[in-house]
């Protein structure tokens, strides 16, 4: 514990982070079924996920925004377009945030223009 407290004080003094390089979701105007030529219930339903992680409140990294999340969802359909999109955020934290993970999750159907 004696080793951890100075580390925590250092983190507090530096505003919580020594190094952070993360992406946050900002805006995504996704398509609706009207925008797709032949939208059907049989269009594949896909989900994509992109995450940021933080350790010891000191270091944070990741591409947890819409860009990577949509890329992940369309990895098997590179020519497709997502429509009827729902987005969620998932946050996991262990031991008061010693390790935390924040993910942007995109779910939608894949259509063709």
């Amino acid at each position: 514990m004696n080793r951890i407290v100075p580390l925590l004080l250092l983190a507090a003094a530096l505003g919580g982070c020594l190094y952070a390089n993360i992406s946050s979701p900002y805006a995504y105007r996704s398509s609706s079924p009207v925008d797709i030529k032949k939208a059907a219930d049989t269009d594949p339903l896909v989900q994509g996920k992109a995450c940021n992680q933080a350790v010891l409140w000191l270091v944070a990294w990741g591409h947890g925004g819409y860009i990577e999340s949509v890329r992940d969802a369309l990895k098997d359909h590179p020519q497709g377009v997502l429509y009827d999109v729902k987005t969620d955020v998932k946050i996991q934290s262990v031991l008061l945030g010693l390790w935390s993970k924040q993910c942007t999750m995109v779910t939608g159907r894949v259509g063709q223009l």
């Binding site: 514990m1 407290v5 925590l8 004080l9 983190a11 507090a12 003094a13 530096l14 505003g15 919580g16 982070c17 020594l18 190094y19 952070a20 390089n21 993360i22 992406s23 946050s24 979701p25 900002y26 805006a27 995504y28 105007r29 996704s30 398509s31 609706s32 009207v34 925008d35 797709i36 940021n52 933080a54 409140w57 944070a60 591409h63 925004g65 819409y66 860009i67 949509v70 890329r71 377009v81 997502l82 955020v89 946050i91 934290s93 008061l96 945030g97 935390s100 993970k101 924040q102 942007t104 223009l113």
Partner: protein
């Protein structure tokens, strides 16, 4: 006497850990979108005393959806652009309570990010299926960079 010391320790550490848990929550926060229709600017803030501030930040961009595109078009595939704001914050003393002097500058708005796409694809007429992220870099809290990153599908007119 030793037992008394041991009993008091957790009482001091628990609020400290709770404080750090709150600090840790900041990188895990989604920025920009809320429940309402209010625009939320992606402004880089440095805190402390600003000696210089000259920034342009993203506010709103209503991009088209596929049904709003011209029928006669050539697909250009995925296009990407970005623009950044930069900031410096320097403590005035070696103390936890020291005031920082800071400065921030940069054109990190939608306009410049879209211009970078136009420069990379001179024949582009527009973009759709637009995804926008804020990319945040912080080194020791002394240097910060906030970039708006756009990935979209581009098209040109026939």
């Amino acid at each position: 006497m030793h037992d008394g010391h041991r009993a008091r320790r957790p009482a001091v550490i628990a609020p400290l850990l709770a404080l750090f848990a709150m600090l840790a929550a900041s990188p895990a926060r989604a920025v920009g979108e809320g429940e309402g229709q209010d625009a939320s600017p992606g402004i880089l803030t440095m805190g402390g005393l600003y000696l210089f501030y000259n920034e342009q930040a993203p506010l709103s961009f209503v991009s088209p959806v596929p049904s709003e595109l011209p029928r006669e078009r050539v697909e250009l595939g995925e296009v990407a652009g970005r623009s950044c704001q930069h900031g410096l914050s320097i403590p005035t003393a070696l103390s936890f309570r020291a005031t920082n002097v800071s400065g921030a500058a940069g054109n990190g708005g939608y306009f410049k990010a879209l211009e970078s796409i136009r420069k990379a694809h001179p024949g582009i007429a527009g973009i759709y299926d637009v995804r926008t992220d804020l990319r945040s870099l912080s080194i020791l809290g002394l240097y910060r960079r906030l970039c708006v990153e756009i990935v979209a599908r581009g098209y040109a007119r026939k």
